[in-house]
């Protein structure tokens, strides 16, 4: 009967209860939507970074990663490549040679990492061809073609068909310079990456990297980096572990290890949702305290009577707490539902953030954000609101049990 009483009590002040239920629902909706938005941004950033830049797994000679020195190429690269391609669950593989150097035009020079790629393979791994916004993608045609980003082109004041000069050390340690012609401008959406990378054909780069006096290595065997895309991102760790075991002399890394910022970002989302939730719950605490306090204060006589006829303090306390919980229990499903439909809708249709696209792109995100939410967050929010309702009712409930029946009954 006490639950029934509590339930009927909350409907004695319909408007007041509906207002607080509405506030809780909107709070839940906001917490879910904000978290959905943040998760969507994070996923967009991670996906962009993975697809355009880091790929799922990369394989290097371990020392290469320290200084990016060209002499630390992957030994037996052809055999390794064969073995990786034979691995199940792998979608695409791109073998690259990489050199650190300088790109210069008549207007300026910048330090860049020069990636020598096989055009068709690279296109399959990171969709570089789709990111070409002007001119053409690398092909077999022409001498020394190069792709630079729009950002870099602007800094160097060059455009498609302009000539640039690349300077770098070859494997013998001598500085080499060669002229390349810009065939296309790319844009991955990640400015820092775009500014610091240029793409050339692997065969062109390798010919320059291997000195004429060095006969230990053929041009098609010089590989510094093998980039891999797997079929299903959830299998990244399994496949990476397997490759690591297969090639103990090589360093096999997943995108999280290559770009610790991605892992950090992924991990940060959990904190972000907790912060949103905490802020919103803090606001709700005061709303609920206020409502329950009013509910207690306007019932002083009745509470005095209840205690006079034998309702003990524990029961009075529980009744007040229960009333608060019931307000929460009505609001929670409403809020969860509102949040769910919002996340579902924006998850499918996306929300266009083009107005902010420039700043978003600076951080490597796409202008359309699709909300996404870990299902666990719904539970987290529901439990959080429930506990808030309990917590917020404690003060009003204490106020109720501190009443003395005689005094309460005499109150006008």
């Amino acid at each position: 009967m006490i639950p029934i009483m509590a339930w009927r009590n909350i409907w004695r002040s319909k408007t007041r209860s509906l207002v607080v239920i509405g506030a809780i629902s909107v709070g839940i909706w906001a917490a879910l939507s904000l978290t959905g938005f943040a998760t969507g941004m994070m996923k967009s950033y991670v996906n962009n970074a993975v697809q355009n830049i880091v790929s799922h797994i990369q394989v290097h000679q371990p020392e290469f990663l320290d200084e990016y020195e060209v002499k630390y190429n992957i030994p037996d690269a052809l055999a390794v490549e064969q073995a990786i391609r034979a691995e199940p669950g792998i979608k695409a593989v791109s073998v690259r040679s990489v050199a650190g150097g300088m790109v210069s035009s008549s207007q300026g020079a910048r330090g860049v990492r020069i990636k020598g790629v096989i055009p068709e393979e690279e296109a399959r791994v990171n969709a570089l061809d789709e990111n070409v916004v002007e001119g053409e993608y690398l092909s077999d045609k022409g001498r020394n073609p190069i792709l630079v980003s729009g950002d870099l082109a602007q800094k160097l004041n060059v455009k498609v068909r302009s000539k640039v000069v690349l300077n770098f050390q070859d494997r013998g340690g001598s500085i080499t310079a060669a002229a390349f012609r810009i065939v296309g401008i790319f844009d991955t959406g990640n400015n820092p990456f775009d500014l610091s990378h240029v793409f050339v054909r692997r065969s062109d780069l390798n010919n320059l990297l291997i000195p004429a006096t060095d006969s230990s290595l053929t041009a098609d065997a010089l590989t510094h980096e093998i980039a891999i895309m797997v079929e299903d991102i959830r299998n990244v760790d399994t496949i990476a572990n397997k490759l690591g075991a297969e090639f103990p002399g090589l360093k096999v890394q997943t995108y999280r290890e290559i770009s610790p910022d991605l892992e950090l970002y992924e991990g940060q989302i959990k904190n972000v949702s907790l912060i949103y939730l905490t802020v919103i719950l803090l606001a709700l605490v005061f709303g609920i305290i206020n409502t329950m306090l009013m509910a207690v204060l306007e019932r002083i006589k009745e509470l005095g009577m209840l205690m006079a006829i034998g309702m003990n303090k524990l029961r009075v306390f529980s009744m007040i707490v229960l009333e608060s919980i019931l307000l929460g229990l009505v609001a929670i499903p409403v809020g969860l539902f509102l949040g769910y439909i919002t996340i579902d809708y924006v998850g499918k249709n996306g929300i266009d953030m083009s107005i902010y696209a420039q700043s978003l792109e600076n951080y490597g995100m796409s202008p359309i954000i699709y909300f996404e939410l870990d299902p666990g967050v719904y539970l987290q929010v529901a439990v959080g609101v429930f506990l808030t309702a309990v917590l917020a009712s404690i003060y009003p409930a204490l106020k109720a049990i501190r009443l003395k029946p005689v005094e309460a009954l005499r109150t006008i």
């Binding site: 009967m1 006490i2 029934i4 009483m5 009927r8 009590n9 004695r12 006589k301 009745e302 009577m305 209840l306 205690m307 006079a308 006829i309 034998g310 309702m311 003990n312 303090k313 029961r315 029946p405 005689v406 009954l409």
Partner: protein
Amino acid sequence: MKVITTKGVVKIYNPDKIPVKALDGVDLEIKEGEFTAIVGPSGSGKTTLLNVIGGLDRPDEGDVEVGGHDIDAMSDNKLIDFRKEHIGFVFQAYNLIPVLTARENVEFVMLLQNRPKKERRERAEELLRAVGLEDKMDKRPSELSGGQQQRVAVARALAPKPDFILADEPTANLDSKSTANLLDIMARLNEEEKITFIFSTHDQRVIDRARRVVTLVDGKVATDEVRG
């Protein structure tokens, strides 16, 4: 058998500011089966006496024994339980739980006593019939007249089978017809069921029905008259 004994009960309000001696040495014995009115001018201490007897308030001096228990020695929470088991209350107003029906109101104290549902229900219906409200059992207090509400309150007070019922001006808000009706019911319960009633009143018609009249003046028992 004695159900209530008070010895030299003193109750002082506002002891720090302007002290008011609401009760000034009250010695009183109430026996089982009495139908007793506490009367006296306004401010004479009737409500205070009923509160002290009912364990709602504590005396500053003197002893109060209820059903052989020294209620002064009980903690607040113990006292709540004691009231629940031993004392029925009918107040002047705000007797009933507004969100519960008449039947639920009567069941409520039995629920606090953890009585089984079936017993609660049967007793509630029986008591509501006894106060003539068999057709109002599922009405909420707001749908009942003042007299009907007080009858529900009497039924509610009887539900836990208390040692006695304390009623502080139960008819103060009632018209004369409802007053007579409530008194009829109380008198019948007293005669047939041997229920002990102690009630305060200003109303001469109510005083006329009492079988013992205790008059308070300035917190003291002025007269104590038992009628045949």
